[in-house]
Amino acid sequence: MRIGATTTYRELLDSKPLRAKYPLIAEVTEHIGDLQVRNAGTIGGGLAHADPAADMPPVMLVLDATFVLQSKGGKRSVPARKFFKGPFTTVLKPGELLVEIRLPGPPKGAGMAYASFEQAASGYALAGAAALVAVAKGVIARAELAFTGVAETPFLAPATKPLIGTKGDPDAIGRVAEAAMAGVEANDDIHAGREYRLHLARVAARRALTEALARAT
């Protein structure tokens, strides 16, 4: 599926094909800003803004989206997983625009979920986790986990492998959630200290993976 960068959040919510194929995008969109923001704000604008605590980037990471960037000089494609460079910083060059988001078809029967804890004033995530879990023959065939709000950029957790081939029992999920924070340089601000933020990220990861597994068919 291809989504134009200036598609508003409202249009995402109203799109039946999107809801059918990527229900997680609609689910997360409902939590972005407020009604007025969703009516005016666009998915491309939000992603290019690259707020390190925005809700949509980790969804793009677990879905393994590709971003199409265009300038006068031409077009190039960049995987979402290589797009975010720092707070409010991306690989976009001067004169270049994010014009399109390309989504590969999700694995058959994949379950997806997002869990987050909001900063009370801004509504941005103190810590949020998106998960995608695909099951084949009764065991987990694929598991993706990505975070927002925790560090300087959204990031994909590298350590979901222990879940592959398992039924995803709570202890295994808990271990993956725990391992995902190993070595992470977590943000520390007036809204959440480092330790609490890491804790919330682990809880969000566990809740997102558990829910994604439950939704997988």
């Binding site: 804890f117 009370a120 004033a121 103190l126 007036i190 809204h191 959440a192 609490y196 804790h199």
Partner: protein, 784 residues
Amino acid sequence: MATLFGSGIKRREDPRLVTGRATYTDDVKLPGLLYAAILRSTYAHAKLKQVDVAKAKQAAGVVAVYTGADLRDKVNAVPCAWNVPNCDLKVPPHPVLAVDKVRYVGDGIALVVAESRAAARDALDLIEVDYDPLDAVVDPERAAQKGAPQLHADVPNNVAFTWKVTGGDADKAFAEAPVKLEQRILQPRLLPTAMEPRAACASYNPGTGQLTCWITSQNPHIHRFLLSVMTKLPEHRIRVIAPEVGGGFGSKIPGYADEALVSFASLDLGRPVKWTEDRSENYKVTIHGRDHVEHVELCGTKDGKITGLRTRVYAGLGGYASTAAPGIPTILHGLMYSGPYAIPNIAGTVYGVYTTTTPVDAYRGAGRPEATFLLERMIDLYARKIGMDPVEVRRKNLIPNDKFPYTVATGITYDSGNYQGALDKALQMIDYKKFRAEQAKARKDGRYLGIGVTTYCEICGLGPSQVAGAVGFGGGLYDSAIVRVYPTGVVRAYIGAKPHGQGEETTFAQIVADEFGLPVENVEVVAGDTEATPQGWGTYGSRTTAVCGSAVKVAAQRVKAKAKQIAAHLLEANEADLDWKDGKFVVKGSPDKSKSFGELALMANVAWNMPPGVEPGLEATAFFDPTNFVFPFGTHICTVEVDAETGEVKILRYIAVDDCGPQINPMIVEGQVHGGVIQGLGEALQERAVYDEDGQLLTGTLMDYAVPKASQMPKIETAHTVTPSPVNPLGVKGVGETGTIASVPTLVNAVCDALAPLGVTHIDKPLTPARVWTAIQQAKGGAR
């Protein structure tokens, strides 16, 4: 005839407010209008070595630029108007623009006046300021210690005042008491966040010598006086208009440099000048609230009888003493240490302390929420310590119903009360015993349910002017009304107070219409223009209905008495033989002989046939000065569930039982309770202004300062008891602040109760998930 008093009719203010047809100060547009912008200090504490405005003066569209040095001899300092006695109060000068030193981030340095708002703002960037930075100090307790950075030359250790309240013999009570406890309690600084930021628009007419100033004001007559002091213009040449005002919560009481600056500029330039702050400027410059560091001790018997309370409080004042600032943590705080309880021995010391932060002044509740919070928190800690139910401790100490009027140890006398009645009603609504059973069961399942109960009373309806004078308040506290009847029988009431969201345009019309037997539509209420309204003292301290509403009532009674004289004359009857019935004076026994209010209005205004010696016209003025404050009270109860894994607090039920006496308009009362409770829950759960060590405000925008959103707040169940006050003719008490006073400890007590099995005793506000989680971790660590 059914009375309007007690009827929940819709607020007449609302249609124009919700359809964008209201006129606010920033909507004022005048021919030749200029725009002002103010350069604000970026340092919390610094010497000003040089302020170079040469480039700004040359910028396109700029008409004038002024510095502190330019204005030093032309505009007087911003006055402090509450000179609390017997506390060695030190009020250093607060120049309208800083001259040699800045004392908080946001302190004014230069004023730019330009042809457009954009030109004025752009020119700020062209001003070069050479600062010599000094150390900042933002914590009031630390600022009062030796060696802390000094803000003002003549204020050693930054201590503006040391105020004491005593009653009974607290030291003896503590020496003898079998149970003692102490707790350090923080009341964080809050940002009032009125929806409409502050603005001022000044227009000086060189021909008449009159200055008109539109100000976002809760008290236009006070602002007229303060403007007169600052601009040196005599009071009778100043007209202050407060048009529609979009909320204040106390932040639009004080006099600010800003309205003096635009007034001076208009005087100097002969053109109107307007200034409007944006939210970021509002958060830096408009007063903040609370900011206490409190050391509290309570003592009592083993069976729940409180015998003493001691406090040592450091109240942050910010860089300068704002208009009412000294009175807030003293008169409105310490005198309420007994709350609704009979506490025989009380000793409190409050230090007012200057810090390199935005000035602190009255914020909804103003001193009373801080008093209620510390008392209600201590009672729950006491109950836990002696192993008694917190409701029973409260019941044991509440002032009995038959003891009113009751004088508490701090020396003030409560007008009336039925504290047990409100408590019983609230307990019944929540089904207290049932909840305790559910809680016990949930605890076995590893779930954390909690209940918080607050019984409160508060002092409002400010207040007798004689007391105002005795406690150093620089004004009266009576209020006023002119009730004017037009020839066609319609009525206007011109009032001295200035409602800005509280609905008195509606409720006061209800009072007048009832008195004259008129449809409410025939009565208009006018406020906010010093040219039209009699001297009054404004809307704050839940005083408007109790004091100004009483003036309206008395003025209407006077009008009616005159109408009766005229009716008797026209009907050739004795006044004693007239009955008032269905809007008419009727001769007893002769129902066909009557004069309606409309007929009398016409006859009085045309004066064709007046009684001998009676003047034409039908209007009356009343100045009402109450004999005492009023003391509304009630019980709030909240139940919560805490997610011990994340620290998130979910409110299960919130019950507010308030007694504000008879209610003129129950719908408006309910709205006040809702708003107050939500503002208090914001304080309890998520609001906190944070400065870093350098005095920079980290919560400088709504992205970081968590004003509650509708989606974050619970449903509020309200109920009432009705205990009239004997101190005013309406019997009413205030209800504007009860919600913020009661809800904060209610929520915090509920969360601490929920976490009792983990050993959590106290968590400082606001109870963000991060803080609750940290408290749980610390308690677990301690248990190990």
